[in-house]
Assembly symmetry: D2
Homo-oligomer: 408 residues x 4
Amino acid sequence: MQQNELQKIKDKKTGVWLIGAYGGISVCVIAGAMALRAKKCSANGLVTELDIFKKIPLLPWDNLVFGGMDIRKYSIVDTLKELHTNASVLSHDMITDYNWQISEVEKNIYPGIIVNCGKAITETSDKSFVKDGHLSSLVAYIQDTLEQFKKNNSLDDIIVVNISSTEPEFFIPEQYAAYEGMKSAFSSNSYEKYPASVVYAWAAIDAGYPYINFTPSQGANIAGIKQLAIERKIPYSGNDGKTGETLLKSVLAPMFLLRNLEVMSWEGYNILGNRDGLILNDPENKKTKIRSKANTLDKILGYKPHSKVSIDMVPSLNDWKIAWDFIHFKGFLDTPMTLQFMWQGCDSLLAAPLVLDLIRLLEFSHRHGEFGAQTQYSCFFKDPLECDEFDFRLQFFNLINYVSSKEN
Amino acid sequence: MQQNELQKIKDKKTGVWLIGAYGGISVCVIAGAMALRAKKCSANGLVTELDIFKKIPLLPWDNLVFGGMDIRKYSIVDTLKELHTNASVLSHDMITDYNWQISEVEKNIYPGIIVNCGKAITETSDKSFVKDGHLSSLVAYIQDTLEQFKKNNSLDDIIVVNISSTEPEFFIPEQYAAYEGMKSAFSSNSYEKYPASVVYAWAAIDAGYPYINFTPSQGANIAGIKQLAIERKIPYSGNDGKTGETLLKSVLAPMFLLRNLEVMSWEGYNILGNRDGLILNDPENKKTKIRSKANTLDKILGYKPHSKVSIDMVPSLNDWKIAWDFIHFKGFLDTPMTLQFMWQGCDSLLAAPLVLDLIRLLEFSHRHGEFGAQTQYSCFFKDPLECDEFDFRLQFFNLINYVSSKEN
Amino acid sequence: MQQNELQKIKDKKTGVWLIGAYGGISVCVIAGAMALRAKKCSANGLVTELDIFKKIPLLPWDNLVFGGMDIRKYSIVDTLKELHTNASVLSHDMITDYNWQISEVEKNIYPGIIVNCGKAITETSDKSFVKDGHLSSLVAYIQDTLEQFKKNNSLDDIIVVNISSTEPEFFIPEQYAAYEGMKSAFSSNSYEKYPASVVYAWAAIDAGYPYINFTPSQGANIAGIKQLAIERKIPYSGNDGKTGETLLKSVLAPMFLLRNLEVMSWEGYNILGNRDGLILNDPENKKTKIRSKANTLDKILGYKPHSKVSIDMVPSLNDWKIAWDFIHFKGFLDTPMTLQFMWQGCDSLLAAPLVLDLIRLLEFSHRHGEFGAQTQYSCFFKDPLECDEFDFRLQFFNLINYVSSKEN
Amino acid sequence: MQQNELQKIKDKKTGVWLIGAYGGISVCVIAGAMALRAKKCSANGLVTELDIFKKIPLLPWDNLVFGGMDIRKYSIVDTLKELHTNASVLSHDMITDYNWQISEVEKNIYPGIIVNCGKAITETSDKSFVKDGHLSSLVAYIQDTLEQFKKNNSLDDIIVVNISSTEPEFFIPEQYAAYEGMKSAFSSNSYEKYPASVVYAWAAIDAGYPYINFTPSQGANIAGIKQLAIERKIPYSGNDGKTGETLLKSVLAPMFLLRNLEVMSWEGYNILGNRDGLILNDPENKKTKIRSKANTLDKILGYKPHSKVSIDMVPSLNDWKIAWDFIHFKGFLDTPMTLQFMWQGCDSLLAAPLVLDLIRLLEFSHRHGEFGAQTQYSCFFKDPLECDEFDFRLQFFNLINYVSSKEN
């Protein structure tokens, strides 16, 4: 039966709709998929290439077709070149070799929307490349564009991925967070009720497509969309890809817990230099990010150590991110001891493989009739939706259990 | 029934026989037990004080009676004072308050043995305070001393713990590693066949007492002793307490594995300044230690990254140990990224609570009729005996499963 | 002649008036002076104990008599005990041995003043232990108290040292910053014109005593006081003792300059846990501190790299301060490279010896008829008054030149 | 007059003879000079581009003609490509743009010599590309080749630079270290008396060319060569370019000295992954390097702190070098505190600009009739010849004084 399924998906073409298509992550996702197809890179960083995933039929990399939206008029190749020149990542050959394929992708990229995205995001947008309008017209625009993408590329399914910049926190009154309230808001000519991430999530799920919120923005994390997903039988996942400092927290905090070493303080300082860093330099947007990072320690440890998460823009770092974490803990006889770590990674290249994994996994979920928040994928997220498990290993066991349960 | 058992152990007096009784770890074990009894410290660092262990009846701290052997004529209080003055750990009050109790422990401390311990250890010993002789007389001496310890203190059981300095690697020919060979060697007036740790292990288990090898020395890790333990129905555990850098390796390496991030290099530099460091400064003794630390990465990752473990003596650090680990891994598209950590802990205070935990656990094993290598306690060791699991979390799951299975 | 002078100062008793007398630095200054007298500690950390200073006659440690003011009713011994217990510094013997001498010092400690010190400082004060009033009465109170201190202890001179908490920035309009404006303000019953540090500086210098501003607060850094000091022929020094991160900046930045390595970014993160940290946690007070730290890089390098100085309160660190600095520089062919450092020191013990040095040096200046800002002592300060030299080595050469010029 | 000199050197063509011409440093020197000529890079990393050097007429980058020797048959472009691909340094454009110029340099590269270079170096050589023979024939070969290089390229002067791998320590008996002994050895058909670096130094200086020993190998550091240089009136410089950890030591140690902070321990761990690292992995060669790094601390501090310098080969790092230094010092009241740093730089790109600087400076020295060890350039070296100054700033002052004294 799995054999049959493998046969079936061999020809299944799945669209990947990237919100933030000209950003560093998108470009690494696209170039990465091309390198994987061309067998020009190893499986490094791809969770779904671990042996355990051979148990279930996952879409081959060949079958992904990329498209998406952005609010800046730019070019994939230019982002690639910038990453190569300024961050010393991605090979020069890549830019040359994938030029033709990339121009095919460019055809699938459309103007994005800006609603309640805050000053920092709005200011980086190209006014001429942004789709404007009231809620019902924005949803219609997104859904029409998805339809066109599907038709133009003869797609069988589309996975919508939000990898755009972090929105400021946006308060949605309870009545508009509820399903009925959302339904009426989205069919009205209202403007101010939701931030863009929520509009994208609603449009995608309403149109029948899985939605991945790889950012800390609100996206599908709202009661009305949860119910919509259940009605439409659509799976979704989020929030905020767990790529660096928080990943380490979710791995190290359990060690302190299980060795009964009280964490007194855990101070984390992050510096990075890309567009993400620029947006997070705005205190409003930073707040959303920091809140997304806040739960891990407290939930794992069962108490609240003194803890600060700081994120600062350091332009010279470009796409590199450095985190210094200082952990002050009490050893035996209440003796203070310390662990410090420095994590140094390329932001976009840490995120991109997880996005590729999630595309495959959400496609699998959709194909297998799963819907609602896919809590079994919580190990990929800093702030997993509908899930109270923050310990990376326990999250991973859930993933393994799911995969094993799906083995034919 | 557990209630009955709890009642029964309330009055059970268990001896703790510390090999290396004047060393930093021993002294922290003794002072720590006193602080726990006096409720002058928290449960920090004690694994058996985690909630899960409430499921099984473990010996209260009040019931431990300390004694042991050393090869240097010294004093517990002097070691305490040294730790306080030179390493700024253990409070001044501790030295004053436990003076009387400690002098009771002093009465139980006897000269140790030196056999094939290498030059570094032999040179630090006080010739006048060392028990000499051929194998059969050494075993008799140890067993007589244990008997005297038991009688003098009206003990119900004794747990023997080796926390003496790391011996150099010592090659035992197969015939003398086998049970029959050991039996005949230990009843002869042979001298040269085993290092001290093996003699201690044989004497303890032969006399019916559980044995914990908290050092990387060979101890019970030899076919003949394994069989002896099975015949005598005695539990034992080892090797080498997992207190710092290796603990972190066994927690972090699985993260790289599960995120499919290839570890290219993992270089670990340890510096410390206590007597342990002094002995490990001898290349022969260091080799044993480094071998004990070597397996963790390879076994967890399933391949051998470039890796070096370096240990250097830095006298000014006294009992503090600093580890700098540099981990070079390949991210997506084979991009090199790095994680570095610095671990800064007090060596003796990292080890002491694990020793206290293991005393309780081996006493429990013995009381419950377990025997042979206690692989369920592998999370406490760098190089767990008879156990191929090096991943800390999986080791801990084994411990939890064992505890749960013993719940009445 | 120097011989004569040495003879003369042998009996000279100099008072040290500590503003912030119950704080950690003060207490380390006092206990340190006692340990130096008793020859119970080495000269570590004391610049004026370097051989070069044998060229000039400096006051012996024996001749210092301590007193001062604080705004919290507290006790020197209690601060000592706290440092010992919570920060594991200062020996237990110290507390016992100097008890009697310390109670003599306690007699010389008086309520301090609070004027425009901001919310954070005001809130930590004991209302009952604070001297209140308009400017002229405050100056009179300080000067009377100094006179009493002098008389009670038969002093020949007094050095006033401000080591109280950092005040928020306080804007003084030009007319009140000028000499005439200050004179009339200080003889009126005005309240709101100056912060406490300025009042202390005015009172001290007006009364004929040298003033050291070891904090980033404004103190003597104001035109009117400069002129007062010239008229009264009184020397003063400041601002803000250079004890850690900034010291390293002033040592490392010249290396980058002289190797022509462009510093792109220099990000500094400081964490500490004492009362100083608590006050600096208030954004208003922190601003003063960060401004004081800001000049060093720009002045040394001759351009402004991207740079952030962050200071956060981490209570568990108590009196320990950790700084992590990340320096991103361009090597040959514009290749980015990095230097990171972590500085880990006890805040009060880093500052205390510099305070003792400055007391001796300002007493020397006063004795030798120097007056105004003592720029030759700039190597002790983060933000040296009337001095544009921030490079530690060049500052130190100035000090050496001064000392050599004073050699008889 | 300086104007005249500037005019004169405008047309002076100076050859640069690189021993180790296919190594990473050489290739960065060559490509760097081309980038400087093409104004494709900034002056970053070049000391002689600091303003102070405008005072003296230094050779323009345009006037350098490269050639040299190596013991491996290789290609400059291939080394360039390796650095680009494996170490992510040097731009792709560089490889393309300088192709033609580089092939001109290739014509000037000849087989090198191997004498007493130890196993590690000998094993990496291409037997067919090595010039063999007894001492007199080797000297003749080197001098003939230099003559040919001069003639082929119409050169006015040649600077010989040793940037080949570190040789093992080689003991030269006193009689052969003396001038007379060397003269007779070099005119005989002896083989075993000197290592290659000494042969190169003798041949170069004897032929009238300045010699720079950028490696820790013995080179010109021998009595006989010193006298030869005086007789021939030739300047030379060495040993061992100060590029990273030792540079930092020579900058930071003075801070501890001048603040009277006793350094108890200074432990330095270096990891790197290039050919230099490979050679240094051999204990014999490593010994030479570590000895070269040893003096700095002791000479600056005036006492010997506990100190270890460790160098390990970590292949994945390629041309990158990481140093972790742990500095344990005593603060006031003998309180231990720590400074740690991590230095992360590209080995070849740290060295290359210093080589370019030294070429210019030795050419200047030669032109101005200086001869013997050029101690005024000691700031460039870890172990400066004929110079007892190790403090970077004092070394740099000597350089500035020299430059100022030469200003017309």
